[in-house]
């Protein structure tokens, strides 16, 4: 019996498995018919040049999958019914075209329409800039080797006892202890493990906070400009987002005081304001805390970017200064582990611990076990800090070479550089350069930049760009910026002529 078998090359898969996969495929595709005999062992070993024992092993594998049956004396046959086969194929897939005339979709709820509108807008405004993904850190610095070792170590029967601990929606106790110690060490937060809550998706953190605290039409004060994704998550709940200006000391509390009605929630990124990079000053931190305490508002401190500093002062987190039990602190491990780990966490104020755990169980009751176990070791055994240090060293170097190139070629085209975030700089182009020209020149020269427009909820700013330096190549950046400068001059000259 002639049967075309293609053994896919997969380096990590045993030969017999590759054969059984191929045969399985042939059965599924109907090339080997139900109830018919399988090719004989000799036939296969001749055509594929495989040993008898490999083929026997493959057949054994197919047998355990229920795809073939052996009849003693007469050989091996394809099963007459495949496992899970229901005797009938699913009817044709429904599309709008062949749907009955009477069909009316269920209308969305009121909040459903808001969610849909905000989500759709987010999908369109989200620009995929590879250099800005992965939490902004270069993928080649990701400690995958260490991570793999830890994951493999914990994928083991001896972890049976920990399985029962998966029931805590806050996360494994040991992991929360490790994180509590970590934020105490690095961010002076002394809340303790009972206040720590682990999340499997970083967006769920604000989703939970917002759902527990905000009703539609409640006011949320949000940094302007500010990180669009989190603003969208809040906005999708129907709350009123009130943009509050940011100056070089961070969110303007004076502007907060001018609001006609105090907000219920205030969202800030004090370590490096996202995207402008300002570090919130110490007096401002106290002022903000006092404002929140006096008005009863909660502060969400998004510490997404505290890891990398380049000679700037280290200030304690707002959470560490909080005596009013009003700061909700959030952070993640994206800077080092984005590739394989989506875990992030919140440190609740005492007053939200119980309701936080309960609410969490509605949105995400269970967290991945292996990742949590691996992360405990990753934090406690010093991998995390080691990798942060290594990454910071590389980033500082790349940042320097980008700054150098910008000073060399763009000095007259941009306003003086101010610090951006931990992985990017902010460029403000002179008013005579149009955004279209800047973007075109960037594309031509391969210079990575992204307009800050999505970061603004109200009036956007022309000529303001985020330039990531995490993936900058020291050898070519000088040339890239040079080409960009030339292209921009040429572009602008042309459009000025046209005007």
């Amino acid at each position: 019996m002639a049967i075309a078998i293609y053994l896919e090359y997969k380096s990590n898969v045993a030969l017999y498995r590759r054969l059984s996969d191929a045969l399985r495929k042939a059965i599924m595709e109907g090339r080997l018919k139900l109830g018919e005999p399988m090719p004989s062992i000799r036939e296969l070993s001749d055509t594929l040049k495989l040993s008898r024992s490999t083929i026997l092993k493959a057949y054994e594998d197919l047998k355990t999958q229920g795809l073939v049956v052996a009849h003693s004396g007469s050989g091996t046959f394809v099963a007459s019914t495949l496992p899970g086969d229901l005797g009938e194929l699913a009817p044709a897939f429904l599309s709008a075209a062949n749907r009955p005339v009477s069909f009316k979709p269920l209308p969305l709820s009121d909040r459903g329409r808001t969610i849909f509108a905000v989500g759709k807008r987010q999908a369109t405004e989200h620009v995929h800039v590879p250099a800005l993904e992965y939490g902004g850190t270069p993928i080649e610095l990701s400690p995958m080797r260490d991570w793999k070792t830890l994951m493999i170590k914990h994928c083991d029967v001896s972890r049976e006892e920990q399985v029962a601990e998966m029931i805590d929606p806050l996360g494994l106790e040991k992991l929360r202890e490790a994180i509590a110690a970590y934020v105490l060490r690095r961010r002076s937060i002394s809340s303790g493990p009972q206040n720590v809550c682990i999340f499997g998706s970083k967006q769920l953190r604000l989703e939970l906070i917002g759902r527990l605290l905000l009703n539609p039409d409640d006011i949320v004060a949000y940094e302007e400009p500010g990180y669009p994704e989190n603003r969208n998550t809040l906005e999708s709940m129907g709350v009123k987002i009130t943009p509050v200006a940011v100056d070089t000391e961070g969110l303007s509390v004076a502007a907060l005081r001018r609001l006609p009605k105090p907000p219920k929630l205030i969202y800030v990124s004090p370590s490096h304001q996202d995207p402008l990079g300002h570090v919130m000053s110490m007096p401002r931190r106290h002022e903000l805390l006092e404002y929140a305490a006096a008005t009863g508002a909660f502060i969400v401190e998004d510490d997404f970017d505290n890891e990398f500093r380049y000679g700037r002062p280290i200030l304690p987190s707002i959470k560490a200064l909080d005596q009013y039990d009003c700061v909700i602190y959030m952070a993640s491990f994206w800077k080092v582990l984005y590739q394989s780990l989506r875990l992030s966490f919140v440190v609740f104020p005492d007053c939200l611990v119980n309701i936080g755990a309960l609410g969490k169980s509605y949105l995400e009751r269970h967290l991945p076990l292996l990742e949590q176990l691996a992360l405990i070791d990753f934090i406690n055994d010093g991998y995390l800090e080691k990798h942060l240090k290594q990454t910071q060293r590389v980033l500082a170097f790349r940042r320097q070479s980008l700054i150098l190139a910008i000073t060399r070629y763009l000095k007259d085209m941009v306003e003086p550089l101010t610090d951006g975030g931990g992985t990017h700089l902010i460029l403000n182009f002179q008013a005579n350069f149009f955004d279209s020209a800047i973007e075109q020149a960037a594309q031509q020269s391969g210079f990575n930049l992204m307009s800050t427009k999505p970061y603004y909820a109200s009036a956007t700013k022309n000529g303001q760009y985020i330039v990531p330096f995490a993936s900058v190549d020291q050898n070519s950046i000088d040339n890239v910026v040079k080409t960009f400068a030339l292209a921009l001059q040429k572009q602008s000259g042309r459009s000025n002529d046209a005007n």
Partner: protein, 481 residues
């Protein structure tokens, strides 16, 4: 000099590090206003010299104060006492008296009410497969395959709200084959865990006060999700053919959603009959309602073929189908899936992107291979035969140990519904369960209305035969004591 005024005496015998002592003394001086806000502190060198300590010790002390917010260090201009001290604002009560009152949202308040009434808890017991009965070496192999730095798929991967495409393709083909679900990968959504699925549906489709029809008894977790989002529940009875569809017709207003578990009704175990399925589909089409089919453990049937999914029979595209791998492989992957009708694809793309744009790529890629290479079906087969034996074993043990009034005859799932004869005392049984750790729980939480006395669920699957026998023995001993 300032330092001399502060009267800093270090106590070398106290065991407290010198830097901490210096920091504490300075902090006290700042709080007591011996040093005014805004004043520049002596330099590290001066402090070190004055106190006869090393410079690094003095620097550590300053760092500590800075971290606590009492001083700020500015490049070039030295260290100042913070103009704004922590907890020193006059309008505010002193530090330890602050008591934050929390004003919860409606959602938050509903949760709190249910919690205060003892109807929900944050933690519930683990019911899922044993780790040692999973193909861990295969999973390790897959982790190794996908856990490596800067692989091509990783660096080019743009997060998709519906999940990693190869995984969606693999699971879609599995569902078509194994469950006769009408599905293509663009209608299949991957979720990191199970809960978000119903939460998203409730928010997208229900206004406050909208009606959701549910089986009574039925899954409490599902009921709580709907209630938390402001829905009203219509309790529809269940008999040995599943949901009693006639009762739907008696409702004054038609529900917007009908939540059912037709393959294996939770907790009674009833399989919805063909007739009822047709009636239900007809009802949904006529009343413009959506059916939510939770196919949570259809993999585990012990007698013959499973019935095809309800969704696969639906020619009106009114069924939302839920499936997940929890019961098969919880400790290594808890990914949940949802197949939605065409009109919901767009709204769910938007909504999912807002709450969970990303699920671990390693896990998704590993799972895709796990399915494509036949490991999933192999695992389920193995579990099925293992659990069938355990179920049989439990039945014979039960016959000897307890006087049961009724054992659900349907041969499916990971647990067994048992009713005891009423000469048993409920309180005594609870005690015996607690002392023997028998995986037996009252079905109370499954009922929105009055619960049935002496009705229990026995989870037999994820416990070895000898272990179960032992616990049952302890249980009967405790009961008869």
């Amino acid at each position: 000099m300032l330092i001399d005024r502060l009267d800093l005496a270090l106590d070398p015998t106290s065991g407290v590090p010198a830097s901490r002592q210096v920091a504490e003394a300075l902090k006290e001086a700042i709080i007591e206003k011996l040093v005014s806000p805004g004043v520049i502190l002596p330099s590290v060198r001066d402090i070190a010299k004055a106190l006869d300590i090393s410079r690094s010790t003095a620097a550590r002390a300053i760092d500590e104060l800075s971290a606590q917010g009492y001083v700020v260090t500015e490049m070039g201009s030295g260290t100042r006492v913070c103009p704004h001290l922590p907890g020193q604002s006059e309008e505010l009560p002193p530090r330890d008296k602050v008591h934050k009152t929390v004003h919860l949202s409606q959602f938050g308040n509903r949760l709190k009410e249910r919690f205060d009434a003892g109807l929900v808890t944050a933690k519930t017991a683990y019911v899922g497969p044993l780790l040692r009965e999973l193909p861990l070496s295969t999973w390790r192999e897959l982790l190794v395959r996908h856990c490596h730095a800067a692989s091509k798929e990783e660096s080019q991967y743009v997060p998709e709200p519906f999940g990693y495409q190869p995984l969606r393709e693999a699971y879609a083909s599995y569902l078509t084959r194994a469950r006769a679900v009408k599905v293509s990968q663009d209608r299949l959504i991957t979720f990191a865990s199970r809960n978000l699925r119903l939460d998203l549906l409730a928010r997208l489709l229900l206004n406050d006060g909208d009606l959701v029809a549910m089986e009574e008894p039925g899954f409490s977790a599902a009921r709580e999700q709907f209630l938390a989002n402001g829905a009203q529940i219509a309790q529809i009875g269940v008999d040995n053919q599943g949901l009693i569809v006639e009762q739907l017709h008696e409702l004054k207003t038609a529900p917007r959603l009908i939540y059912v578990t037709p393959s294996h009704q939770a907790p009674t175990g009833a399989v919805m009959s063909m007739n009822r399925r047709k009636q239900l589909l007809e009802y949904a089409a006529k009343n413009q309602a959506y059916i939510i089919e939770d196919d949570y453990d259809s993999e585990f049937r012990y007698d013959g073929r499973p019935l095809p999914s309800l969704q696969g029979m639906d020619t009106n595209d009114r069924t939302i189908y839920l499936s997940c791998l929890w019961n098969a492989m919880a400790p290594v992957s808890r990914i949940g899936f949802m197949v939605v009708p065409d009109p919901l694809v767009e709204p769910l793309t938007a909504a999912k992107g807002l709450v969970e744009r990303d699920v671990s790529l390693v896990e998704q890629a590993a799972l895709a291979d796990f399915i494509n290479e036949g490991h999933l079906e192999k695992l389920i087969r193995k579990q099925r035969s293992r659990y069938a034996v355990r179920r049989q074993n439990l039945l014979s043990l039960l016959a000897k140990a307890l006087d049961t009034a009724y054992i659900a005859p349907e041969s499916a799932g990971l647990s067994l519904l048992v009713r005891l004869n009423n000469h048993y005392e409920a309180a005594k049984i609870e005690q015996a369960i607690a002392s023997s750790q028998l995986p037996m729980t009252s079905t109370r939480s499954y009922y929105a209305g009055d619960a049935r006395d002496l009705e229990f669920i026995l989870a037999f699957a994820a416990i070895e035969e000898s272990d179960l026998a032992q616990r049952l023995e302890l249980f009967t001993a405790a009961l008869n004591a």
